[in-house]
Structure formats: structure tokens, C-alpha cells
Symmetry: C2
């Protein structure tokens, strides 16, 4: 048996044993892709387990994350910090060997995967990141590949098509995916649902496609090498494999996909592959040696890279681009009414100048979101150094690619579209929050006040649905000052994503006459008053100020509170929160669902908002009909106070 | 000028004038697709403006809904109830001519479109619905086509790939889409982002693809006819068009996409096409006559169909299947602990027997969601009569197709997957709510208690995010009785979608000892007590009951309230709500974000839940660590009451 075969058997054994011990998990995929994993990791993948975060390492993405035991086995053999005990604790509380891989760069886990297609898309983002940084800093500092394992499930998800189409358009030559074509999905044969010609489809979107036996080590090696020879197309290696490979009774069946094989079948499988049947978690010493030698190649590559960095006149800049940013935005000064999307547009070049890794784009709405770095072009296969990415009408692709760019490192990536279309990219938004990834999401046209385009384009429940997401910061700025603060916060944040919402319509600049609190604390007093507390976000802050003026004429003096970011506000001390929210009847106003506002206004408070879909009409009419005018708010406040 | 050309010019004029008057909208697409619209509607589309809801009409879907003025113009010319005044009131409050088409069958608007790809996907669902009903009732009662207009934006969205792949797999021969290949998107040339070979890609997924000049009336006619000749493949007609066709300065530019052309350019365009420049909203009488004659063909087809129904022995059954259902589910009786997904599985055949239009499937998780009609096969090109649809790993496709099946009529369609993956289909969920469409969404594995698969698979914010969506009913049943009630409610509902959440884990049957309220009211008292009100949903109701037992041992007597459906509960009288929620300190418990719960527990209440992501571990450990055990709840309640 070759050492590579011993490594393959080791992985198969670990996968079977770990799933059996946990009594849950997915043995079929690790067994089916073990050959591919061993060849890729011992012959091609350039990583250094001693410096797992090395900037110029190859990226390995396991998009079919349910096969996590394959990754944990590979990491263990390669000498990353995944111990045999960790593998024995597969799927247990606190163990790094979670059911699906969870991003941990120190362990060599590049990203969290499991929701299908997310890895496929983020890998495209990583490859774009590499191409961009290589174009900027040269191949002496940046020259690595992105490798990925993908499944039929990844390919069926629309997100993989979106990102594959863009990857083909951009001609990303340093991207190689192995497609685990095992013809089995959870409910049975893929023939039930998936009978297309995958090869022809990928060729139609400008991919280099190869077709191999995924258990033939020589063929795997040849295909991986061939993928590296094609510089102007991404490669899909269609690898014909057998799920549960080696299991005499469960190979090629969906029963090996997501359940333990059972002691008896494990015995038979181990027996069949000449593996110890009287022990579990067997690791062949030759497998460890094979991987150790392979990793020495990675260590050597790292040493060479280090040597190059020592003589590179770009390395200081390279390092600076990988460091956290603490950016203070000046802006051109804003007086009169201006849309917060326009404010964003007017500070965009300044942000690009101050944050060298700032990169991103919009989903065919750059003119509407106002997100463009004017000093740079649009990225294409001719110019990877450009910092504006045209994602096409592909919001979900934008989401996964922004995550991939951010995961790559050296980049502060953003994606922009209309707020309502954040629905199309929700799995990517969630994954950025779950991975504690500082992706920046910029959604304009953030309320019904976009007007005539109507309810299909008017967000209502979106604020609540993002605020409910753990670790997502949602910023709804009320004017230019709050918009600037939102972008500053987004850049400062390192442990999670920030959503910045901007308006289509002009907003006045808020006159702030209180010193209680600051914008950066997420909530603060705009102006004071003792009779009631009027709380709002975004465009409704100025409506509340106007309503407060009207109420003042009625001898009712109201405090106005702006709450641009609930997450920041709720992370302040209870005392601060209580001070800002004050005592007195609380009335909130927001052009969106009132869902969630009662935590702020309380049982006796009044939450004004929109618990219905919007309508197609000019914004002034909508404000009138849906009671968002200062007069309507004044009336609602008065009637509430009279109760 | 031919009458068809006069009709084309009429449409172009109406589109330009309406957008100009509204000072917002999209003239470019209607001008570019007017030729296609006129030929399709006057030569092929089988509809009857006198009976717009005729079950056997052809379906027309405008997936690129921003070109709504094309649809309104066609409807006006064809004699549907869209007046010239309605067109003059384009994009105004209360007008049926909204910015994007809003479903109104009486007007001939088949569905709400605007979010790209949704129409493409729903059209596939309509075609599946037609194939299914034709297989069941025969071509005498059901024999119509689904026609659609789609744009580059539709094709770039992943949802179109997902549904197109399934449409190709199913060989839907009665589906024809015209692709408006105008090479222009909002940000400029599609060359910036979309350079794939669309024809080759669609051929790879088993579509019949034709390529024509989209302004050549003879070619359009020939292609539409050719698409009808191919019985075993859907057809994509790639129509090369010019956006803003006829505008001397704005044709072929993105400036004609989403802005008024301006008075001067409208003048020049009208002049160029020989159209009155001294009036607006010109409708050529010949155009009306042309459409009137064409509609006579539809009227005649309707009369023939009526004649066939009179002699069909299947028509009574056909009509019954199109009528509202009032279904009462018996179930086999449930005593011991059982997962609510398993309850669903055990009543599935009964529901299928009682609701003849019940149809649907899961996204490759049928074994996990337990959603299968055992007396029927899996739909395929060999058997359209089957009522189980295998959607593949395509949640978003499932969402749009279920909407399309429901829109088609005669069907009560459902889609099933894990709750966390509802994120992938959120645009379709929203559209079902916006369209007041009674689609049924069944999501299993509805909390962290799915266990070892970990946080990528564990929903947290999803309950809040769906509850915040207008018109979406969210059911989280606590046991078998509540599960049955949830399905009954879903079938009864006619004006909006219902989400039914089911557990992976077993739940005990709740012992109900109070008469205050019923399950169908969305919230009711499970058992009474005076010291505190414990409120929960789903799996946490039995945890609350156990906690109440523990508290009783401490001489604290608690009411336990189950709130399976907030939307139903909040639609009850205030008195009923107050009666059920009682007086006394309120404590809620739910295995999900606490976001939104303060509206129920109040300022002084305690909302127990999960405001973080979950973790990979066995469910018992998760309950322990994340404080969802009866003991942990007892302690939290005691400490809250002691405050």
C-alpha cells in the first residue's frame, strides 16, 4: 500500500469512527473525497502549519462542509492544531471539530461552511482577492491559488451559478474546484433532479473543465497540475467518485451520506481496506510522515516568501494593508438637505484613500447606491488592480464574494444594493455574522420613501430581520454626520459585519442641542424636553424633530432621541441607556415594521411604524397616507399623551 | 404601417408618456419589447378579457416587472379592466398601474414582479401546475401554455438557473420565455459582467433555444410557433432587441432604462416613428381593433372549453379542486413523545386525500422533513401526475415554484426544508406574503435543538424575521394537536402564506387543563396559576409546563400560555388577548432570538431566549448550556419574581 493510500485509509477510518462515536455526522463524503484530499494536500496545497495565517498561503475551501471530518483529518495529518482528541470529540460542545467547519484561521479552517454554495462563492471572492493583491503588490508577495471541494448540492444552488458566471467572466486562472460527482444526494440519485450537462454548462460560462476518476491518484494529480497551467480560466475538475467509498454495503447509497455506518459496516469496510478492526481512530505513521514531508514544502515556500519580503520595497505597504484601520472621515462638509446615499458617494474617495484595502461594488446599481471609487476602474480580466467590482445583477454572488474578499485578508470589502434585495443575499449576510467577519453591507433605498417603485422595492420587515440576527450591526443614519459615523464604525469593527442603510431621498442635517451621548454610542439625545421621549432612526429623526416643534407650539416639550445603531446602544451601560431614553412616555417612529420596538418604548409606550407593505406612489403621498408627516406624528403623540 | 406596427407604436407612446407624466419609471424595456408583446398577444396568447380568471387561459408572466408599462398597455389594448385613465395615473396612490405589476387576476395581472428572477421561477411553477393538472384531468380541460418575458437581470440571478435546470430536467414543453437580450443593464453594457454563452448554457440544461431579431415580426411569430412544436423541452427565445427602441438619442443606452426620456426626446421619438407629437397617450384605433380581434380568438377558445366542460365527466372534480378547502384533520391519534415533523408525516396522506390539490415537495430533505404523499410518485417528465416534487438542493427554486403552482390555481402547494435554509428562499417567501398568496411553507429542524449539525444549521433570528414580515402567518406548534391545527389553518387561509415549523426532536403531548382559548386563536391558556404567566411556543411549551411543576413545588403557581401563532393571536379582540396573557409578571421562553417578545412580556417582563448563535453539540447539552432546561427556567423565573 502506498503512503498516500495509507493516508486515504486513515482519513476513511477517522471519518467512520468519529461519526460513529458522535452518533451523527456525514461519513460518505469524506470517504468519497479522501483520495482527492490526500493528493491535493500532499502534492499541491501550499500551506504552513507553523504559520497557519501566512498571507500568501493557498486557500482551501470545503464548500460541502458536511464532510467536515475530511477537513479535520487533513488538518490533523498536516500538523495543524487539531488533535486526535479533538477528532474523538467530534460534534461535542466546545470542541473545534464542530458538525460543520467553523472559521478558525489558527487551526487552518478558512471559513465556516455547511449552507451549500457559500464556500463555492466565497472561494471565488478569495481568488478575486488574490488576483487583486497580486496585481497591486506583484507575484513576489502574492502568488497563491484557491482550491475548493464542491458537491452536487453546491452546483444546484443558484449562488454557485452566479459566482461561477462572474468567475468565468473575470477569467480567474488561479481557482480550481474539485466537483464530487458521486451521483447521490440525500433523497437518492441525483438523476431525480439534476440531469443537466454540467461540463457543457461550465464551458458555456468560460470555465476550463476536466473529467476524471476521483479515486485515481495519478489522474487527480494530472488534473490538478493541468488546472495550474490554464492562466485565464477557472477550472472545474469533475471527479467521478463513490460516496462511502470502500463500504461494501453502503457505497453509492444515500444511506452513507448523513448517518453513521454502524459498527458492523465499519468492521467490514476496515476489513476490506486492510485496516485494523480491533481499534478506532487509527492513524498510520506513514500517513503522518507523508503529510509532514508535504508540509515541509509549504514551510520552505514560506521561508522563500519571507526572504522576498525582506527585499521588497512594497512589503511595508503590504503589511499596512493587512493591519486594522482606524479611519477618521472628514467629508466635504454638509449643510443643506442631502440623501445619505449621496453623502456616502461624497466620502467614498476619501475612504478609499484612507483605507487602502477598501474594495467592492454594487449589484448593477452603482448609480443608485453612489458607491464608486472614482480614482479606480472597474475590475476585469484585463485589470485586476481595479477596486470597483461590477457584480452584475447578482446580489447573492456579491454577498459571498464580499465575504471571500474579507476572509482572504488585506481587504475591507463592501457590497451595495437596494435594502429590499438584501433578501437575495441573506445566507451570506448570516454567514458574515456567524464567522465574525467585518464585511460591510451598504443598502440604499432603505424605506418606503423610495416611492414610486412600490412595495416590491420597499423594505418593511428588513430592519427587524437584520436587528434580530446575532452579531450584525445595523446602522440607519439620520443625516450626514451619522452617515460618516456609520462608515467609521464599520471600518473600526473587526469582529463582525456592519450594515449601513442609506436613503434615496434628501434629509436635512439634524440640529443637535444636547450633550447627552454621541452618535458612536448608537443612541443619543438630539434635543431635550421633559414631557415625552420621541425616539427615531434615519429619516424619521428629522420628522420627530419637526413633530417636536409642532408639539412645542402646543406647550408639550419633547426630548428627541436618535438611535442609529441599536447594537451599539445596547452595548452601552444600563445607566447610559436609561439616561438617554429618559423617563416619561416613549413614542418611537420608524418607516418599517414596529416589530422589536417595544423593547425600547415599553408596555406603555407607542411604537409608530409600518406593519403592512408599502405602495407605489410619490414619497410625499406615502408620508401623508401612511402617517409619517410631522403633523400626523404630532397628532399621534398628543392622542397617546391624552390617554 | 401595419396594424401591428400601430399597436407597437401605441405601446411605445404610452410607455414614454406615462413615465414622463409620473416622472419616474422604465421606458426602455417596453419600447424594446413592444414588438414581442404585440406579436405574442395578438397571435398566440390565449386569454379572454371577459373572463380573466378562466382556468385554462395561457399564463403571461412579465418577469422583468420594471417594464410594467408594457403590460398595462397590452392589458388596455386587449380590453382588460385597465383604462387609459389608469395609465395616466401610472405609479400613483391607489392606481392599479403600480410601479411594478401587482397581482390582480381580475385585471389580467398574473403575478407581482419586480424582484428579478421571481417571475422566471414562478412561470416554471405555473408550467408544472399545467402539466400536472393536464395529466390528471386531460387536455380537454387543461391545455394551455406559460409565456414569459425575461431580461438579462433575470438570467443573472441564481434563481433563474435553479428553476431553469429543473424545468429542463422535467422537460416542460409548454413553457416559452422570450429573453430581452438588449445588452444593456443599469450600470451600462452587460459586457461589464455577463459575457457567458447563454445559448450554450441553456442547451446544457435541456432547453430548446432559438435566436431572433426581437423587432422582426415575422421572426417573432416563427419562433413562438416553433416553441409550440417542441413538446419535451422548455424554450428560450433569445431576442436581440434595442432598449429604448426608436429613441434617436437614447436607444441602446442605459439612460433609457429607468428614467423618463424627457419631453424633447419623446418628441423626437414620436416624430421618428410617425406618431402624433401634439398629444399624449395616443391610442391608435387600429391597435384596439387588432387586439379586439385577437381577443375574439380567446373568447372562442373559452367557448369551446366551456362546451367541453359541459360534457366532461371530470369537470365536477376539476371545479371542486379549484374551490376553497375546509379540511378537518383527524390524524391517527398521538399519545407519547413524538417530533412534530413526524406528526406532519403521519397526517400527510390524510391531508393529501382531503385536499386534492395538495402538491409539493422538499429541497432534497424529504426524509428529514417527513413530507411525502405515499400514494403518489415523484414528478418526472414521465409522470406529471405525481404529487411529490423533488426540487433538488434548490430552496429558492422551490419557493418560486410553489408560488407559481399556487398562482396557477387548482393547487395547494407546499415547500419543505430546514428552517435555517428559509434564508435561501426569502425573496419568494416575501412575494407570497405581498401577493396574498396561500403558499404553505413547512420548515423542520426549527431550532438549535437539531443539535450536532451546529450553528450553520440552527435557526435563531428566523422566527423574528418572519414574524416581522407583513401578512406572513408563522406557526410554531408545541405538540401533535397544535401541529394538526397549524396545517388546518394553512389550508383554510386564502389570503396569505403560512409557515409551519416542525421539530427534529420528540416533544411530549401537552396536558391542557384550562378552557381559556383555543389553539386556532393563536394563543391560549394551557394551565392556570396566579403568581406568574409563563409564555412559550413550540418545544418550549412543555419546558414551561415542567418549569411550572418545579415552581409549584416551591409554592409558586404559574399560568402557562402557548402562543403557536402570533398573527392569529393578535387578530383576536384586545379583551381576548388580555384574558389569555392575564395579569401578573410575564416570562417568555423561546429557543430563538428574544427580539419582538417585549411586545408580549412588557417592560417589566422577562424574555428568555437565545440572542447568540447556537453550537454543535447534542441537544441535551445545548439545553443545559444555553439554559433551556426546566431547572434553568425555574431559577430564572424565581430570580425574576424576587426582584
Amino acid at each position: 500500500m502506498t503512503n498516500q493510500q495509507l493516508a486515504v485509509n486513515t482519513i476513511k477510518g477517522l471519518a467512520m469512527d468519529a461519526v460513529q462515536k458522535a452518533n451523527s455526522g456525514h461519513p460518505g463524503m469524506p470517504m468519497g473525497m479522501a483520495d482527492l484530499g490526500v493528493i491535493l494536500w500532499t502534492e499541491f496545497l501550499k500551506v504552513n502549519p507553523d504559520v497557519p495565517t501566512w498571507a500568501d498561503r493557498d486557500r482551501f475551501v470545503l464548500s460541502n462542509g458536511h464532510g467536515s471530518m475530511l477537513l479535520y483529518s487533513l488538518l490533523h495529518l498536516a500538523g495543524f492544531d487539531v488533535s486526535l482528541d479533538d477528532i474523538r470529540n467530534f460534534r461535542q460542545w466546545g470542541s473545534p471539530t464542530a458538525g460543520h467547519p467553523e472559521r478558525d484561521l489558527e487551526l487552518g479552517i478558512e471559513m465556516t461552511t455547511g449552507p451549500l454554495g457559500q464556500g463555492f462563492g466565497a472561494g471565488v471572492g478569495m481568488a478575486i482577492g488574490e488576483a487583486h493583491l497580486a496585481a497591486k503588490f506583484g507575484s513576489g508577495l502574492v502568488d497563491h491559488r484557491t482550491w475548493g471541494f464542491v458537491s452536487d448540492g453546491d452546483l444546484m444552488e443558484g449562488i454557485s451559478y452566479e459566482t461561477a458566471s462572474l468567475a468565468g467572466h473575470l477569467g480567474l486562472g488561479k481557482l480550481s474546484y474539485f466537483y464530487d460527482d458521486n451521483e447521490i444526494s440525500i433523497d437518492g440519485s441525483t438523476d431525480m433532479t439534476f440531469t443537466e450537462d454540467v461540463t457543457a454548462r461550465f464551458r458555456a460560462i468560460n470555465w476550463h473543465v476536466l473529467d476524471i476518476d476521483g479515486h485515481d491518484h495519478a489522474a487527480i494529480k494530472e488534473a490538478a497540475a493541468a488546472s495550474m497551467e490554464v492562466g485565464d480560466q477557472p477550472t472545474l475538475i469533475v471527479a467521478h467518485t463513490h460516496i462511502g467509498h470502500g463500504s461494501p454495503n453502503k457505497q453509492d447509497t444515500s444511506s452513507s451520506h448523513g448517518s453513521p455506518l454502524g459498527d458492523e459496516e465499519i468492521f467490514l469496510t476496515k476489513e476490506g481496506m486492510g485496516w485494523p478492526t480491533d481499534e478506532t481512530f487509527t492513524v498510520a505513521p506513514e500517513a503522518l510522515e507523508l503529510f509532514s514531508n508535504a508540509m515541509d514544502a509549504g514551510r520552505a515556500a514560506y521561508a522563500h516568501w519571507q526572504a522576498r519580503t525582506a527585499t521588497s520595497d512594497r512589503f511595508a505597504e503590504f503589511e499596512a494593508q493587512h493591519a486594522p484601520v482606524d479611519v477618521s472621515i472628514d467629508g466635504p462638509g454638509f449643510d443643506g438637505p442631502i440623501a445619505t446615499r449621496t453623502v456616502t458617494g461624497k466620502i467614498f474617495d476619501e475612504m478609499a484613500a484612507k483605507v487602502p484595502g477598501f474594495i467592492g461594488g454594487s449589484a448593477d446599481l452603482v448609480g443608485s447606491t453612489k458607491t464608486q471609487i472614482s480614482g479606480s476602474g472597474v475590475m476585469s480580466s484585463e485589470d485586476y488592480s481595479a477596486r470597483n467590482i461590477a457584480f452584475g445583477i447578482r446580489e447573492h454572488a456579491m454577498g459571498t464574494i464580499v465575504n471571500g474578499l474579507t476572509l482572504h485578508g488585506g481587504l475591507r470589502a463592501y457590497g451595495a444594493t437596494f435594502f429590499v434585495f438584501s433578501d437575495y443575499m441573506r445566507p451570506a449576510l448570516r454567514l458574515s455574522a456567524l464567522m465574525s467577519l467585518p464585511s460591510i453591507w451598504n443598502f440604499s433605498h432603505e424605506s418606503i420613501f423610495l416611492g414610486e417603485d412600490g412595495p416590491t422595492h420597499q423594505p418593511v420587515e428588513h430592519l427587524a430581520s437584520l436587528r434580530a440576527m446575532p452579531n450584525m450591526w445595523v446602522m440607519r443614519p439620520a443625516d450626514a454626520a451619522e452617515t460618516i459615523a456609520a462608515w467609521e464604525s464599520a471600518f473600526l469593527r473587526s469582529d463582525g459585519p456592519t450594515t449601513i442603510l442609506t436613503t434615496r431621498q434628501n434629509l436635512p442635517q439634524i440640529a443637535r442641542s444636547s450633550d447627552l451621548g454621541t452618535i458612536a454610542q448608537g443612541g443619543y439625545v438630539v434635543r431635550d424636553g421633559a414631557d415625552a421621549i420621541l425616539i427615531a432612526t434615519g429619516s424619521e429623526v428629522s420628522t420627530m424633530v419637526d413633530a417636536a416643534d409642532l408639539l412645542e407650539a402646543d406647550d408639550i416639550f419633547c426630548r428627541v432621541v436618535s438611535l442609529p445603531c441599536w447594537e451599539q446602544f445596547f452595548s452601552q451601560s444600563s445607566q447610559y441607556q436609561a439616561d438617554v431614553l429618559g423617563s416619561g412616555p416613549r413614542i418611537s417612529l420608524e418607516a418599517g415594521s414596529t416589530f422589536g420596538w417595544h423593547a425600547i418604548v415599553g408596555s406603555d409606550g407607542l411604537a409608530l411604524g409600518l406593519d403592512r407593505f408599502g405602495a407605489s406612489a410619490p414619497m410625499e403621498i406615502l408620508a401623508e397616507k401612511l402617517r409619517f408627516t410631522p403633523v400626523a406624528v404630532r397628532n399621534a403623540v398628543r392622542s397617546h399623551l391624552d390617554q
